[in-house]
Symmetry: C2
Subunit: 214 residues, 2 copies
């Protein structure tokens, strides 16, 4: 389905799951074409897009081999297995399990509960709902980081955990969460946000980011 | 923390995430000690348990090396890396990504939205909420399986995807979802539920399953 010889990323600028994969691609120095999918305009619910991603979720990734990959963490694992430059997981199995637990704590226990489709369904206020669950989640995540963090989420090397943390931090800010309540998260994010890879993949730098405040 | 020389699984009988890991342990023929954590009695919210699992979620796994592992999918990946008997993922990277996408579609896009803590927070009826999101999820999952399924979720070999599907099917039944609407899921589950590993790890067979209907 790619029209160029680059891999394709279906992405929505402010989707934290899309951002995870943008970060993985950036750290691994993989050039790619962005195809924006506007969730607010329901572009993810077209038959054409659902043929690629049946849940109508972003991101989706099409590699140069023409294969379609979905689910952000599965895509990052795939990129890590096929592009060894800048490994996203440690080598030791116990360490890998620790990083994967950090990744999944955000990817399963925090992010999904506050996705757009959930917010649209709840009869509670959207921001209250997000604030509630992100705050609870970060409170627990901070405890995980007490055991694992160095300069970054797992020791002093960037891992997949950091690629998941920064986009969730952004979601927290959007939901009005006071991030200074979580000093380790706050400190790691302050370090991460200075890196070129984070700046270049930030929602505000995406081709589909509107000029007006969003 | 283990009192025997067996690994320990902190588990709640009807937690689908606990069941995933029970299945992985069963297929890999790893003997273990079950330590029940009753979510309905808030046993997961004690300081003692949260020192093990800061989110207060089940399962948690303590291996014979004394290391603590949390997050069900990370635990399954760890078991698969350290106990090669009965591999849960294919060898090829594209295939692995496909199985992981199936796993994560349930583990991130379906299950978390209907966990007990979410159901307690929503002001909609618990069963209606679960039914809504599990139905939407299985509708999309069925489309994924159209591309991947054989006898099982991915071809004709049991993978991690099946270990995640069966417990989610059980959640669907509990939420009153008509599973015959999803013929591939229904067929795969009918095959899976006849296997000894599924029978032995079923919620109703757990030491903490109450005698009364639950």
């Amino acid at each position: 389905m790619a029209t160029s010889n680059l891999p394709v990323l279906y992405s929505f600028f402010r989707s934290s799951c899309s951002w995870r994969v943008r970060l993985a691609l950036s750290f691994k120095k993989i050039a790619y074409e962005t195809r924006p999918v506007n969730l607010l305009l329901n572009e993810n619910k077209t038959e054409e897009y659902k043929a690629i991603q049946p849940f109508g979720a972003v991101p989706a990734f099409i590699d140069t081999n023409g294969k379609v990959f979905i689910e952000s963490v599965a895509i990052m694992e795939y990129l890590d297995e096929t592009r060894p430059e800048f490994p996203l997981l440690p080598k030791d199995s116990v360490d890998r399990a620790t990083v994967r637990a950090l990744v999944q704590a955000i990817a399963m226990d925090i992010q999904p509960v506050c996705s757009i489709r959930i917010l649209r369904y709840t009869s509670r206020g959207e921001t209250d709902w997000s604030n509630h669950f992100i705050s609870l989640g970060f409170e627990a995540y901070e405890k995980m980081l007490e055991k694992t963090a160095g300069k970054y989420s797992f020791g002093d090397t960037i891992t997949m955990a950091d690629l998941v943390l920064a986009p969730q931090y952004y979601n927290g800010i959007r939901a009005g969460v006071d991030m200074t309540l979580y000093p380790i998260i706050y400190r790691i994010h302050s370090t991460l946000e200075q890196l070129e890879e984070f700046k270049a993949t930030h929602p505000s730098m995406q081709p589909d980011c509107p000029l007006e405040p969003y």
